[in-house]
Subunit: 328 residues, 6 copies
């Protein structure tokens, strides 16, 4: 007896790849501006007012929706279809009526994410620059959040982003992990930063992170391999609720060229997805993918495709975790 | 007897077009960060924190320098070589230590331009979004400026940019001509706005301008022609000191595609330069060219080239005016 | 008393230009897949299976939505806001389950448009190649349509597209006006083709059109001007119901570079919109804009912007006509 | 005694790299529309009517010719110059008078390849989408072919392309290996599909292939390495005549970005060419390289270059095999 | 009785536009490296060693062939099909074995064009930079040419290109019209230079031309119109044999963006083709189109299309002239 | 006690990444056209007159300055800040008054580098095509140089570039290592060529190199690994003064797409920087990075970024070597 697909299934599968058809919501998810009937909310955060280096990240969510619309997919290794296991919605873009003012925007965004948190929705956000992480953390791990306290953090990045106020505001792209620490939003003992690499603006740039968090730079990964990286991450974050903040610049420019703060000689997608697969079973309570600058992408949109595949990963992790939790 | 150029002059002329050779300052002008020995200062203002629509204007000055480096030129119609008549310098870029904060940046920029004003230098600024005009006007026409009071204004644009505070700040790209009016920096009787066109976000969008300034929209230009436009501008601004603020979106996208807020069916460069030539004799005391978004330019860089040619125009006007003033 | 906009109106107007924010439907119209509550339906027809020359038109509707999302605008000359006068919806994309088969797709599309017709909706379609016009005409002017018979036709194009079967199908991009004639969908006495230009594949290429329809080529427009063109069009189509089929290749490549079948030395947008304005009062019962190939657009997206402005035109014409009809 | 090249040889070698000089035939091969004097025929198959996802593959052969014209090369590892060992011709493009009709085009193409087969020419085809493989197989392995029966198949791809009729035709890009099986054109025991990877449209998508063919997905290659992959392929296809169908999407987007149906995290060119080198001695009786979408290529044309190098591989394999066969 | 095209004619006409099909020779002309059976020879001259400003012109002929392959066309206004009236061939590219040495290359190219001249072929050359004109003139109007003496010259350009040796060689892009004068290849009384415009490297740059030739700059055209320009050109060159050297930079960058030495505010294609049409009856004995830099073209290839249409013009002029001469 | 950066240091570090701010000199180094106060001179050599294949290298230095301006960085592995240990200047571009004549330009460039040598400056040059190496070697290792004799050579390239005169000149991109050998500028016993790969124009192409130098091709690196490559290089060049000539085409096109003479399947940046790190302690007396063609770079400028990082490597090596030498 064959597992053969029917003609209708074949046509549907092929049409699922049509990235140019219909209204582009994230992964063809229903649009739920009222936050109803949703387990996981895909959210656009088209903001670039926090980055002094590159300013094109406001174009990110649209560009991701336009590609990810064809990524209503299942996870090949986990053998999981997140779209059948979870109610996944596109919640639209974060309202930013004061977009030119970084402090007001951080306040406005926090209010939006507080609503998301109150609805019990796991937010997966597509930036925007890295400053978007700050209001998200305040909303889901601050004193007024449902959880009420700090969470674990897996932070992939080529830079620590753990500095204080600069360039006229605390709410810049280089501050979220310092703010997370200072405001008690992330648990430093359960925080790991992965991927520092490239020549340095200052030799002391990573020192604060190394003192307060676990840091894995790429030179270490080159020497010890991805299995070691994955086990280190698991060791640090353990079983508790964990946020995953993914700055695309951790990837090599061959795989993610369209980033705000590029560094040469990064991680390959093979390494990334190998690590991701080995992190199966971690309890992800939120995630963001930041620093996508669409005008810098290759014509074939490799960065948008990598983001889309990473979104499938995050969703599959969450679906797999829930499925296994329910089974226990 | 022939006017023939010598071999050396020929080689020099050809090399003058080498846009890829040497350090790119505006028009190969000497770099004068100390503001010394300068009649006209070419200034980069790489700021896009004031525009909610498009954010790539911070890339403008570099892209203009890279092209304008080959535009150390003379004016074909006026038969004037501004570089032999004026001391023209590249003053570098406006310092912006608080670049993510629009209000602090307006303050920082005003301080820089006040120094320019104190040195008696005519500033020609390359933006940046249109919010850059506000601190410039405060510095050169505010109560503490050398002049001490309002100036005339020629404003080419497809939009009025005469609104109040919005998006979290007064210092946004849509406010400079309202601020200029409210703070007494521009003389409304000597202010003309040229070039409104395209479909409208709101039917009332231009009303405030029409009440307070002289407005020439492109439908009028299509009907009455460029001679009428030039004479209207001359009539409004008269002989007094006049600032020229040029938003590239007044031009048709065939001629200036790389703009922040594009409108279809604009002015041709032939019309623009025809009008410019007919404005000979106006006393230009400052100018800016704003809203250039280099990633949106055509591969042949038509927008950067149009800007370069417009800079030659501004410089030739100033040189011609001084030459004629001196002759009187 | 001033017409000044309030702060909220200003912010809203500026945000209206944010082409990168939110879910991209045509002009931020509500999505109505059930065709409810709609006077005018904006429809994507992402099909390129009818053109043997260029095949990228399937990318058109997405690219237009991504730009037109910021074109919820009013008409500057008519002083009409179509969005307040009409119920305008985005009806999504035409279903094409047999997309690789041109004859089946023509049948499938006709069925969709028949539903549109039955709901009394005026369809404005964004192609797609020019073969999309055939099923639309069959649905709204065929024997089973509400109207039940032929309509007038204004066809802007650089080619007649009035040939019979070729390349393996009748349903190709060069046939709709022959099919429209042969099947009695368009009234030849009320059909005008505007814009033939460029060198010719065959000297007889336009002969059939000239025998059966009124033809205005661009050489005539260059000589007699746009007023004559507009009055000719009005004379031909008169007061009856009229379809407007707009092939972007009628425009010069400086204004619409991203077309399937480019010809040099076309119409300018100034000429186009001047003619459009002079056609005020025509009864438009359907329209399409075809042959947009987004990968061929300039980085500044001039073609997508021209299309967006043209959509504002079509909507404003319809709103204006209804307003005036109601007033009578 | 030196192996030094003469001045003429040096100049010729350098000129051989001039990709912009002369008429672009594949690898500067003579054009033989009459199929005369040819051992291996390089054929363009500029067809994209079989792919519902992306439609730009019709531009492939021209873009490959424009780059491969500079690839009249020898194989560094095999130390073989195929151009001195084989009579290699450019046979032009497959005639497609019914290009808009997929079923008629499959028929027309089969007729062309039947002539190629009758002339005893090994065809190496440059697509075009993957539907081009179906008529080729019918012509060279169908009942009317010289061979008269099925051949072995090495199929590199990220997808199985083994589905039945869909989207209105059997002749679509996802069907050739099902058609090959159903019509007895390929020997399932001698068929290996290499390279499935990426998240999946449906978890059952590969099941039919796994039941009927040998399948090697990339997760297996990551674990077991390229030597294992090569030996598996050799084991499956053995010594018999073998067709090599290469869908570029098996490669990582860093190495082949310009593909119709991209998947993240694919094979590197180093892995590809390592496997290819290890397959020395296989009897290749035909090959195709499909799904190249030139507008999606990087500015440096990495995909076109990869294709050119792969063509050198195919030619060198055939030359090497013939040389060794003759020596036996 | 109808002039209707047959189905075969329709299909052929549509296929004639397939710019991506088959081997790209100029206008699908037969390739005649032996110069046989040819009235007009289309020649690629892919050389950029004569221009100090931009160096990408070597890519010109390939890019023109790739587009012009679809321009086997007839002239709409003249109602002439040059391909039925003339034997037109693609003669391939000029051999340049010493391409890095400008003086040797001038010698090598002259030898090639001498053969063309000896075969009685009218050469239409696609550059390459403007230095290519020098060896062509020596071959067809030098003392050893069939003609044996000077010819008339219509030179469209934004620069005079009439300077002496510079940058290490006489054979640079700025010298051909000085060399033509100095060596008696062009008749100064029958030489007209059309199109100088833009700001100037030196105010004396045009003086030599004005003293020796007839010069029409664009300011004059703006004032007096295209009819005057055409009649001036006719007056200067009269009935004698005339060469037409066309530097694309005379056109506005909206219409020909991909040029080596761009100037803002040039001629439109409407003006160009209007002038061309009015020059009907001039005896063109050779032509070149130079300074095309394909990497600077817009994605829609407007420059390549303009060149293709201009080639149709040149061919139609020659065909029309011969037809009319024969008729006399 | 924390190593925390102060607010000012943070802001300075962030601003250091602003690649679009200020005047673009290499790594914001002071411009020293008089060669004063300089240990290491960064020099632009914008020349493409020596390469017959691709001609866009003249655009290299400008494009590198525009990106490297943000690379005033420290070496992560060596923990060295070269900018605090060395006086590093931007010496501007090599004067080329005879740029169209390759032999005169070689002479002119040699004169410039002789001045650099006389000032005791280590030159790091950014090309330009590979012909730039010849005059540099003559100036710093010829009989009139300070050193007076041959130096060691580390040459990374996919081609030997060791041929004699061709294409009309000895001074072409394929000759520098033959000229270096023939004129006694490099010590063959201390010369290693690393990275030959890809299919070959002629099977004998590398033979001369293998006879005279040490050659490491990439097939060897794939088998033996980067540690072996590094140790081989160290073994060959030993402790003596060594020049490092880096042709970007040695890198895979995924990492350095914008090269003149691309070959598929090259070195990764991870391999490159791993080898570089292992070469610590070599005495680098000059370096060049050649064959960058900016128009072929990806939108994210990966090649320019790789070059910038490689410049940090060269500077850090020199700084580290001097520091260690001084310490001994």
């Amino acid at each position: 007896m064959s597992n053969e697909m029917t003609d209708e299934e074949i046509a549907a599968a092929i049409q699922g790849y049509w990235h140019w058809y219909g209204i582009a919501t994230f992964m063809r998810c229903p649009l739920k501006p009222d936050l109803s009937d949703t387990d996981v909310g895909l959210i656009g955060f088209p903001y670039s007012g926090g980055n002094g280096i590159e300013r094109m990240q406001y174009l990110g969510p649209r560009a991701v929706r336009d590609r990810a619309v064809a990524y209503r997919r299942s996870h090949r290794v986990f053998q999981v279809n997140p779209f059948s296991l979870l109610r996944i919605s596109d919640l639209g873009d974060v309202p930013m009526p004061n977009i030119l003012n970084p402090d007001l925007t951080a306040r406005d965004a926090e209010a939006f994410y507080r609503r998301v948190d109150e609805h019990g929705i796991i937010p997966i956000s597509i930036g925007g620059d890295h400053s978007v992480t700050t209001p998200i953390l305040r909303a889901i791990a601050g004193p007024k959040s449902r959880r009420g306290g700090p969470i674990g953090m897996i932070h992939f990045d080529s830079h620590p982003d753990a500095h204080g106020a600069a360039l006229g505001t605390l709410h810049h792209a280089g501050s979220p992990f310092r703010v997370g620490f200072d405001e008690g939003l992330i648990d430093p003992a359960r925080t790991v930063q992965v991927g520092f690499h490239g020549s340095m603006a200052a030799l002391t740039a990573d020192d604060w992170s190394k003192e307060h968090f676990t840091v894995i730079n790429l030179e270490q990964m080159f020497e010890r391999g991805v299995d070691w990286v994955a086990s280190e991450i698991r060791r640090v974050v353990g079983d508790g609720p964990t946020y995953f903040s993914f700055d695309l610049d951790v990837l090599d420019l061959a795989y993610a060229p369209a980033v705000a703060d590029p560094e040469v000689n990064g991680m390959t997608t093979r390494e990334l997805f190998s690590i991701m697969n080995k992190l199966r079973g971690i309890d992800i309570v939120g995630a963001d993918i930041v620093c996508f600058c669409p005008p810098l992408d290759n014509p074939g949109q490799i960065t948008a495709l990598t983001i889309s595949e990473l979104m499938v990963q995050f969703l599959s992790h969450i679906a797999d975790y829930r499925q296994n939790s329910a089974a226990r």
